[in-house]
Amino acid sequence: MPICECFADNFRQQHILSRVDARVKTLVTFALLLMVISSKGMFFPIFIAVSSLSLCIAMRIPLRHMFIRFAQPMFIALVVLLLKLFFTGQEVLFTLNLYGIEITGHKDGLLEGMRITSRVIGGVSLVIALGFAAPFTEFVAALSWLKVSRQFTEIMMFAYRYLFVFLEEAVTIYQAQKNRLGYAGIKKGLHSFGVLTGALVLRCIDQSQKTSEAMELRGYTGDLPLLMHEPLRHGEVAFAVLIVAFGGVIWMI
């Protein structure tokens, strides 16, 4: 999947959350995320997961993209679930005999593992929804409004600007190496990979010099301009408070 497809800017510009202020979206996500990771049961995280994924579907995000984002967190969650099932807990649920090795699954371990898995599903769904709902620049502006250091947000902006450039560069070098049998065999492949990394670092240093020279010529004095903040709309804030309060009530049940 091309990297640019992962950013909200790539998807429909107009959806049900596109007009909502990124600061409101970010704050609601943070509040609900805190509730998800502090929840004691499975209901709340699953409720958040269903709501967030429904929002993604309403935003017309392709299912393939959602599945790809879930793949890696679920891998870790499944390892944790299996570890909890087989290696923690007291109450025996079942015993398997695999070629003379006795493996015991525990009921309390399984429940605890499922609780962690539900938190992962809830948390990931929530962040996926935010990732699709907020364009990158708006999210960075929201971070700056939240008093995240300017140096941090500027590095984010630089990184975002050059991600695609270096990715394209990496693909070009990789294809050239592959065409010249650079990955035929482990030793050759490792060598080619090292050269690829070195070439990217070299390109990064050269490009940073060119970029800073070009920026200085255009009046760069050390600070990048960020999006200006309009005053928060009362209606949006009230709706956000309602959502968080509603979430809080379900969290307490």
Partner: protein
């Protein structure tokens, strides 16, 4: 008896689903702790631990940028490179999946550990939000393992070996290798502490460490080769840059 049968059936279905999922997942990013795995208290603790390191990185960046205007673009672009490196899929035959290198040893050697922590923090935030690698709630834990441990171990090993006049390539190889393994062990500690519940810490830590051996041991070697390759290429092509970054002395540079 009936309940036991239902449980067995449910477990069999779960096993099938797990097998299907694992066969579909072709990539594993074992170094990032996923969103939601850590409970609030552990997420808060790792976040609190990571903040001073990130803050110091920001202060260093601010101080150096006052003298050198090109430093901020360099750090920003290096973040993009680390991001790209950490997205490169490396086949891990022992696990039957692909994994990704951390790439923290490279900026640690070139720009120092405090700037590397900042670079890692930024890269992890973008990855969490737009790729679901890592998470917002586990950002602190991931910064501590990948940024703090990865960078300090990487640079420490590199400088230690260079002090004993070990060649650049070998020093860089071990910096990459041990930096990767330090990240993996710290992640295992964070995971074990976060999910153990009432169980003792050590047995669970050992099991988690063993569970990720198939991906992390070969990945460490790849990371070592990658770091060595980067340093060797820089030395051959632009040794003046290594002098500028303080990696080698001026008399060691190829004129």
């Amino acid at each position: 008896m009936k309940i036991q049968n239902i449980t067995r059936h449910l477990l069999f279905i779960t096993f099938l689903l797990v097998t299907c999922h694992l066969s579909l997942v072709t990539e594993a990013n074992a170094m990032h702790i996923s969103e939601g795995i850590l409970p609030l208290n552990w997420a808060a603790l790792w976040f609190a631990l990571s903040v001073p390191f990130v803050a110091y990185g920001i202060k260093r960046l601010k101080d150096i940028s006052k003298i050198d205007l090109s430093y901020k673009p360099l750090v920003g672009l290096m973040t993009a490179v680390v991001f790209v490196i950490s997205l490169m899929p490396i086949p891990v035959p022992t696990a039957g999946t692909c994994s990704h290198p951390g790439g923290t040893a490279i900026p640690a050697i070139l720009l120092g550990p405090s700037i590397t922590v900042l670079i890692t923090g930024v890269a992890l935030l973008i990855q969490a939000l737009f790729f679901a690698h890592g998470g917002l709630s586990t950002w602190g834990a991931d910064v501590v393992s990948m940024g703090v441990m990865g960078a300090f171990v990487g640079l420490g090993v590199f400088r230690l070996l260079r002090r004993f006049n070990i060649s650049l390539a070998i020093s860089a190889f071990f910096a990459g290798l041990l930096s990767d393994w330090a990240i993996y062990l710290t992640t295992s500690v964070e995971l074990a502490a976060g999910i153990r519940g009432n169980e003792p810490f050590m047995p669970l830590f050992a099991k988690i460490a063993i569970a990720f051996i198939p991906t992390q041991l070969p990945l460490g070697i790849v990371e070592g080769v990658m770091t060595a390759g980067m340093i060797t290429l820089l030395y051959k092509r632009r040794s003046d840059l290594l002098v500028k970054f303080g990696v080698i002395k001026a008399e060691e540079a190829i004129s």
